[in-house]
Amino acid sequence: MQTDKEILIKLAQQNPSELSPDELGQTALLRKIQIPRPLVMVNSSTSGIVAGSMRTWEAIEQYAAERSIDIDLAETGSIGLSSEDPVISVQLPGRCRIFFSRITAEKVSCLLDDLFHREVPDQHVIGQLIREGQEPWKDVPSLEDIPYFALQSRIVLESCGIIDPFSLEEYIAGGGYRAFLLTIRSYTFSEVCDLVSDSGLRGRSGGGFSTGEKWKAAFRTPSDQKFLVCNAEESDPGAFMDRTLMEGDPFRLLEGISIAAYAIGSNRAYIYIRSEYKNAIRRINNAIKILREMGLLGDNILDSGYNLQISLRKGPGAFVCGEETALIASLEGRRGIPSSKPPYPSTSGYLGRPTVVNNVETLSNLPGIIRNGPDWFKGIGTTECPGTKIFSISGRVKLTGLVEVPLGTSFDTIVNKIIGGVGKGRELKALHVGGPSGCMVPVELMDIPVTYETLKEKGLIMGSGGIFVMDDQSCVVNTVSYFMEYMNKQSCGKCIPCREGTRRMAEILRSIIRKPADEEEHTTLDRFKGMMRLETLAEVMKDTSLCGLGQNAPNPVVSTLKYFKNEYEEHIFDRRCPSNSCTELRSWFIDVDLCTGCSICAKRCPAEAIIGTARHPYFIVQEKCIGCGICHEVCKFTAVYYK
């Protein structure tokens, strides 16, 4: 009698084409293709929980208990459509699984009633996942036919939102851990390095440095101990790809870490994860525990003689710890302050030993590369930049979520075709790519293919892959000012250009988006001079800052001064925000025809700037108005407007 463990290891070793009919049946069961009972899967990733998926979960439990229906309820990750959460998927035995959007607790009973009567409701349907041996539903689009999925190449995200992140069985049945077993049984350390270097995989955290070369440098350095560190300190506001990956498919990351650690000959790996990622931490800890029990982690893994320990370290929260030398300092128990390179961490890193720091997405690419070979990987994307990249898209768009496309795809495809562009009646103004140290991409540059090189040529950077979409109602200067305030807070303070430069820049930008304190002539001149100084200041910061944070901090300012100078000028000379989003620059007025003289605005005005007598139109004294907009909020007759 074989134990479950042996069966699983056997499954992981075999090619899918060589499986016996018995094993095929097992795989179908484990992959939830054949199921004995109806199955409901709830997206319990962070964005799902925020949208209320736990209440949906309880409602489903209650529904099943009340009607004594035997159903399987399981957690899953996000399929990437975070604005459509809570997303749930329902699968009836023998039928395809259907995904539904925005299923809040009160919609559960209605939806499940319909489905158990073999009817699909008209609303909330995203699509169905068509897999072998299942009967498709009529009139339900396949997931592959919806524009959002059709234009993506999901390689790293392939199982996110489909599999149960707590189940190793499901991951292995879907082809998981074959790459790791192949690595430790058939390749030497340097062969794995060569293979990955041959595939052309480059770091996905922004730098775009060849992963294989980084490994080789660490592998060649003689040392009694080497370390692999997975950088999961994703602190960019608006970036959530690493989080979604870890929450949706933690075993893929751990398999990637195991492969990378083996390649550099390391027995110790750390995952440095942001402490706020409680959900991801829970899943990774659970995954590590299961892998230890299975013997896929620990001493002498499957009698190969290779030992590996992976431990999780919670980052105490500092943006600068995304930089590798700062991250290592933080691991060592010091302040997360970067140090100058060389020496590079790959020769002298954690505790002075060779250390490779790789990003979550980079590591999650590895199982696929080992399983399918470097040539398969080179076939995706462009020659210099093979593979795919995940972008997290937020802002003023129809859908917020993750998009995985081959490198070389244009921004136009990503934003307009896949995500569906900006809201109805709005106009796309710009994309902010790469988080707080990223660049503003104007609409004219939307057609360029996205690779590390093409972006660099235009003076832009890819960063970690967060794209923030702005329409005609979002203000460029306001956004840049927000980023600069953020960078100022996050600067570690070690070098002066970054510490003082970000502060002065934030001050200049703040003065542009606020009303001047007095109306004397020289204040305008001062504001204008500030703008002129921004350019020189940016240059100094770029040339003299110690680490990437300071060097890239002026990026948003430089790119907007280049492409959106007119917006700055309008703010300074006309004291007007073209998109009306800088609240302090708004001028409020009362429409005399609509005002009934109810006096509520005058009572609520914090600056006592509204005067008038009851039952007659009121008037706003512009000199006193602070532009808070409370009058607009409280007016029942929409008589208050701004221009």
């Binding site: 209320g52 506001p237 608006g238 959530f240 105490p316 997360g336 937020s394 917020t400």
Partner: protein
Amino acid sequence: MADETARIEVILKRFPQIKRNALIPLLQAVQDEFGYISEEAISRIGTHLSLPTSKIYGLATFYNQFSFTPRGFYHVVLCNGTSCHMRCSGELLSELAKLLEIKDGETTRDGLFSLEVQSCIGACGQSPVMAVNCEYHSRISVKEVREIIKQYREDADR
């Protein structure tokens, strides 16, 4: 007070190795247990790891996770990510500051509320987002903030 000392000792026992790289996990354990890092905890950790307390305080103030004042009964976290900022999280923050009469990182005098602004909660599709003791409120307006806080106040009175 004696109770606190005992709890700190229990945490210290979990970290037997006296190494610098145990410092951050230790502080995190204290933060998780008490919700803040007290002076006593810092001095106890200092003796345990043979580190001057000034070094520990210097490290702890560098990172955002650690706080030095006790958290309120309701810990309010407001997201100020790019997406939330664009959807007026700044106005929500000034509303919260006005309602609770505290700033970011502070606790009300009665110990009922504390306020924290986080750089990104990671639910950009649901922005703006606010969490009170891990209970999330998504796509909220200034008006809803007022109602939510009022609700918690009423709950606390009961």
